[in-house]
């Protein structure tokens, strides 16, 4: 008996929300990054669930692209964190307010 698609979607929603909560509440940039990865994974799960539901492979292809972009994003993000750490000796986002004109 296959698990209903809605179950996967609810699980995906929960994981996504946890990731969001992490992004909002944590101050360590690296952990925030991990939470973003968690959110991406939640989305991927929904994609694959839909792919099965519709009997089409497109959703899985999308996951593939999400993973490629996520890999690129992680590399760049961690590089930025390292660069910021070198300058400020911190990875606390509350202390980093560079995103301001």
């Amino acid at each position: 008996m296959a698990v209903a698609t809605s179950h996967y979607l609810i699980l995906s929603a929960i994981l996504f929300s946890i990731g969001v909560a992490g992004v909002l509440t944590r101050r360590n940039a690296i952990v925030i990054f991990m939470c973003i990865e968690l959110m991406l994974n939640a989305v991927n799960l929904a994609f694959v669930a839909f792919a099965r539901h519709l009997g089409q492979a497109d959703g899985q292809v999308f996951v593939f692209f999400v993973m490629a972009v996520a890999a690129a994003e992680v590399a760049v993000g961690l590089a930025i964190i390292i660069a910021v750490f070198r300058n400020r000796e911190t990875v606390d986002v509350a202390e980093v307010n560079l995103l301001k004109w």
Binding site: V20, V93, L99, K100
Partner: protein, 625 residues
Amino acid sequence: MLTTVEIIILLPLFGAIVSGVFGHWLKKSSGYVATACVGAAWLLGLKTLVDVMGGVGVDENVYTWVSAGSFTASVGFLVDPLSAIMLVTVTTVSFFVHVYSFGYMHHDAGFARFFAYLNLFVFSMLVLILANNYLLMFVGWEGVGVCSYLLIGFWYERKSASDAGKKAFIVNRIGDFGFLIGIFTMFGYLGTVQFSEVVAKAGGGALPASAATGIALLLFLGACGKSAQFPLYVWLPDAMEGPTPVSALIHAATMVTAGVYVVARSNVLYTLSPTAGAVVAWVGVFTALLAASIALVNTDIKRVLAYSTVSQLGYMFIGVGVGAYTAGIFHLFTHAFFKGLMFLAAGSVMHAMSNELDMRKYGGLLSKMKVTGYTFIIGTIAIAGIPPLSGFWSKDLILAGAYHSHVPGHAALWALGVVGAVMTSFYMFRLILMTFFGQPRDAHLYDHAHESPPSMTVPLLVLAVGAIFVGGVTGYPLEHGWINHFLDPVLGSPDHGSGGAGLSPSVLIGISVAAGLGGFVLALVMHRSGRLGADSRQPIHKVLWNKWYVDEAYDVSIVRPIHRLSMALWTIFDTIVVDGIANGLGYTVKGISWVSGRFQTGRTPTYAMWMLFGTIAMIYAVTLP
């Protein structure tokens, strides 16, 4: 492989690009390149004429330029007797003007620029006359307009020159507006702008007479602008601010005749609409007399020639207006030679007189400038219509055509034409007598006068030969000459409505010859009595001297109201509405920026929170309803 026509067109473009882009490095060599290009185009043009005489014509579409819905316009070329004659005229005069410019512009800093413009002009002119549809012709039409503007304002440091350029440009816009609408209307009715198809469809009765009149008049509005006919002639005298070779080439021989060409090219429309033809003829004769009358008293050598050009263009319009298209084009052809010649000779005189333009300071120059003087006299005899020189043949053809035509008041038309011929003869001989005969009136200038260098005198001689012979060779015997046989297949024979009624042809000839001689005799008498160029208190003299106050009338009726309206718009509309909107936008943006700036903390979590806020709102917006 390029065809001959394409090579002819591309040669001057090549010259323009070379001397325009590389002129800085080429210096004087750019003149050689430019002249060589035009020379080669001239030779190929002669070959084309011979081919056309042998019955070889071209009507090819090179490639599709615009294609939208049912509308297509091609870049395509047409070579038939009409465009072949124009081709030869344009390239011949262009080539000799190029040669002449070597001497004339030798010391000018803008030497290369001058030749670039000149070549660009030749290119545009060739596009105009060789195009096989109205749209491409319009491209050439605008091209020559731009070149004319650039060349009138060639010495742009001089305010009068740049003003004259602007005046020419603006006045021409009015004409172009009509021309373009004419093309649109034509497409609306016929669904094509290609000459061959227009001729086929319009000739086949697809065009109602009223539409034909409308289109013909709109096209004629364009022609008025380009060919300086009343009421749009005012720019041409001012255009004399440009270098003299430019006046010779553009404002005497080639560009200004484009309007005549257009009317001749659209002859099928004017044949369909006798009204339009009559309008053309009457505007032509009115312009001819108006300009000639102003020329009677003017003392500026170039302006006299300019008014003379306007007047002669009026004659050409009489010709094409009354249906004697061949006569009009024939006059265009001969006029190019003798008017080009006279402008170049005037330039030569100016060259000798330190750029002095006032004829009242000339006098007795013949002994010092033999070549210039005699060639000038040849040109004058030609334009005065004294046989056997060129002008006689073509002018007589026009007058005869007018006399025999269907146009309302054709006899009056002819009579006024004859009056104009008297005036032409008078003011031209007045110019000659004041310049080359009598006593020097400015000793200082006279002492420094000298004959011009060969690069200037050789073109004079060549064009003088043309002014003597082209008319007789191609136009003899009258109405049955080579030119008639050559052009009539395209343009149709003039319609001799009144048949043999009225005066016999030989009487007409006699009258027009008498008119030419009469003007000469009058000038000679006044010269002897010392009244030529003298001030006069007669009111008519004053009116003529002030050019019938046309410029002033335009100023009062058009320029100043527009100026006042603009001022009003500026003070009321612009400062309150436009500035209000602009400043209001600025303040609004500033306010919004201040508010949204509060959101920009520079901290990532804040941003993430707002992003999330938006996301949640969006989810609700999508799901809930």
